[in-house]
Amino acid sequence: MATQTPVTEVLDLTVEKAPQRRWLEVLHDWVTTVDHKKIGLMYIGYALFFLVVAGFEALLMRVQLAVPNNHFVSPQVFNRLFTMHGTTMVFFVGMPILFGFGNYLIPLMIGARDMAFPRLNAFSFWISAFGGLLLYFSYFGGSGLYGAGSAPDVGWFAYAPLTAQVFSPGHSTDYWTLSLLLTGIGTIGTSLNIVATAICMRCPGMKMSRLPLLVWLYLVTSCMVFVAVSPLTAAQIMLMLDRYLGSHFFDTQAGGSAVLWMHFFWIFGHPEVYILILPAFAFANEIIPVFSRKAIFGYPAMVAASVGIGFISLSVWAHHMFAVGMGPGANTFFVLATMAVSVPTGIKIFNWLATLWGGKIRFTVSMMFAVGFLFQFLIAGLTGIMLSVAPFDWQLTGSYFVVAHFHYVLVGAILFMLFSAFYYWYPKMSGRMLSETMGKWHFWLFLIGFHLTFDFMHVPGLLGMPRRIYTYEADRGWMIWNMVVSSGAIFQTIATLLFVYNMVWSYFKGEVAGADPWDAWTLEWSTTSPPATYNFAKIPSVASRRPLWDLKHPEDPDSHYETTEKPGGEERP
């Protein structure tokens, strides 16, 4: 707990209202809260804390890899670093931050006062949070108490049988398994809450066909969580049984199968990527139209494409396993399924382009990050197509090309969109604008750093450099590329620190935002910034997809065009 309070404090809305209150009372408020906004902020603060931690781990790795045969860290430490970096970024940064925004925004956007299950919401947050703390306790705890364990070192996908007692004695792998079990529970709980909220808590008139796209995409994401995160939980239970009770699920010496773990993990692992990227799409769907001053192009197609991505992504997991020797039949199937994802994804990109087309684009920092997202997501999608071509993948998989590819998705697309979302919704959350000047510095520094790092990271992969090696041979010609890659990390670090500083500075000194600083169209901008505990004094009622457009343009409201003949007849929950 102590770890995230300083960060959430930054965003603490209550402080301003009652500066006299003692910090213990404030703490009590936050610990016992069931308010979706506070829980959302706690999620975000917690994720930001771990973003910095995992970013620091990445920095250490880049120092180690900058030159060949480096001795900056030992192999054992390096292996722990990449395991913790991957695990943290996926489970304790990506998921919580997206759920944080979801928690904060969904009830506001659908005109509700809270989530469907406020207490479950608090529970889900806390159990995810404790999961993260348990994982990091491994750094101190293991060796201190039993002299055997320490941080996990099996890689974030922990392939069997490296996780078996024989190859991983002590408790390090247990920390990994147990903490992921805990966050798994929290993730499923929050997703359940989001689905129930989006379906059951909509304000009058908010039909499914009028649901903001952000809410739609969170709905799809959450539904995917049930079928993706649960298999991971199941696999973790099996691994736990193997390690604690001596069962043989992944024990290759007793006839068990290492490949089964790979299947189970990637049945989770691939949809997970879409679970992370769909909320980024969700932000883009809200932010790009507002700054282009146009309605989103092809709302139904966007919904359909998201649902389509959701479904197809459940049948592509084995494209992580083209080199496993599944045979030509299975390989061919997964090639086709994987390529098929590119079609709905393409629709999304083109629809965003069409939204921009003919608009009047305002380049706020938020929009700049969104444009960066579009550009980088395009590249990430194209390298994704390269990886879907199984024979090409035989060369590329497990190499630095793959590392570059998925960092393009996770940093170039998701993190850029997250920054965009911060600049867009920070005024709503805090009541103050983030500084645009600092924001521009942040954007350009991060952009330069990002491209230095991840553009050039593709090359060593093409030159045969495998991932997860703590050092490499000098004669392979990888050094120059690794130097460039590592140098980009410096820019990214500075940019991120600037961003954190901007958040703190703007909280106290930023320009007062007002209810609707961006001239936007969704319901969250119709209430005060920050919103009152109850969100809306009176539950709103809507008649179109853009209720605030209707209010701002009474002479030409959307609702005149989006007519329906019978109320509620269109429902497809």
Binding site: P75, A354, W357, R362, L378
Partner: protein
């Protein structure tokens, strides 16, 4: 026509851009690597074209439709276009067409690589991945060696492919020599196969590409592609028992009286362990410690003294020999040509 040249030019540019690199996937020398290379050029060309097109549109839109008003004042909202079934249908159908074409090409390469008929005279090699070294055995030739794979060169007119039958003794590994073929995972309790047919003699480098434990980074692969004559000579040499040299009898005694024998094999001695590399002809190899360092007496001595010197995390324990015994063992091992 220009497009065809485009594909060819792209291949030339790509394969020369990275210069003289020993593990460049764009410098293929065998059939599997070549067919991957050809396919990858098609993919690069298609994705490159899409990139230029879409990024161009994005750039155009950003410039053309940027708001010209100062910070959102006095401007009229643009027309609100809700969508277009036609355009959306078009950009659904075109990607589908591209996907279909790409898929057909991919499926063909998958089948021609994974389902290639095996010639009767193909060479069979069994590859066993260990933490953190490679065991190669040639069942038909009665040869067992480690870390340095020797195969005969394949003549384009008379293909002489080498079939690798792979499994693991402990954790997952992956066999990857980029210039010869894509990678194939080496998994315990499971047998995978792959084939290579290098058409130029020389030394090809690679390394384990699946994280397998602490020392994953130094689990290197060296493939020596020899002329048929050289290969036959190598085989003949490897089949002989270990060299007997009375001058190093003391070193041999030290070897035989220590734990060495429980992990290593030297044919003709009491050492029959299978846990570590076969040392019968260890001195004939160019490197030790799975390619980590050159095979010199000094390096052998250092490695026997404490393997952590080169390979932290290696499973071989420090032997705790005194200086005299170390010298003796080193002398013995260096005679095992």
């Amino acid at each position: 026509m220009f497009a065809c040249h485009g594909l060819y030019d792209l291949a030339v540019i790509v394969s020369t851009a990275f210069g003289d690199n020993p593990t460049n996937i764009f410098a293929p020398v065998g059939t599997p690597a070549h067919s991957v290379f050809g396919l990858s050029m098609l993919v690069l060309w298609i994705t490159g074209a899409i990139f230029v097109l879409v990024a161009g549109i994005l750039l155009y839109v950003l410039v053309r439709y940027r708001s010209r008003a100062a910070d959102g004042v006095t401007e009229q909202e643009p027309p609100q276009i809700y969508g277009s079934n036609q355009i959306e249908l078009a950009w659904t159908v075109i990607p589908i067409l591209i996907v279909v074409m790409l898929f057909l090409a991919t499926a063909r390469v998958i089948y021609t690589t994974e389902h290639a008929p095996k010639p009767a005279d193909a060479l069979d090699v069994t590859v066993i991945g260990h933490q953190f070294w490679w065991e190669y055995s040639y069942p038909a030739l009665g040869v067992v060696t480690a870390n340095e794979l020797h195969v005969p060169v394949s003549d384009p007119k008379h293909m002489l492919p080498t079939y690798l039958t792979m499994s693991s003794a402990d954790t997952d590994h992956s066999f990857w020599v980029p210039r010869l073929a894509g990678k194939t995972d080496v998994i315990p309790n499971r047998v995978n196969t792959m084939w290579i047919d290098p058409q130029e003699t020389g030394l090809y480098l690679g390394q384990c590409a699946q994280y397998c434990g602490v020392q994953h980074a130094k689990m290197l692969i060296r493939v020596y592609v020899d002329t048929p004559a050289a290969f036959d000579a190598w085989v003949a040499h490897q089949r002989q028992p270990a060299v007997e040299d009375s001058r190093v009898a003391e070193g041999r005694a030290v070897f035989e009286h220590n734990a060495c024998i429980s992990c290593h094999t030297i044919r003709g001695t009491v050492a029959t362990g299978r846990f570590g590399p076969d040392l019968t002809h260890v001195a004939s190899r160019d490197t030790i410690a799975s390619g980590a360092v050159p095979n010199t007496a000094a390096n052998i001595r250092s490695f026997v003294d404490n393997p952590e010197n080169f390979k932290p995390g290696a499973l071989m324990p420090p032997m705790h020999l005194d200086s005299h015994d170390l010298d003796a063992v080193t002398a013995y091992l260096t005679t095992l040509k």
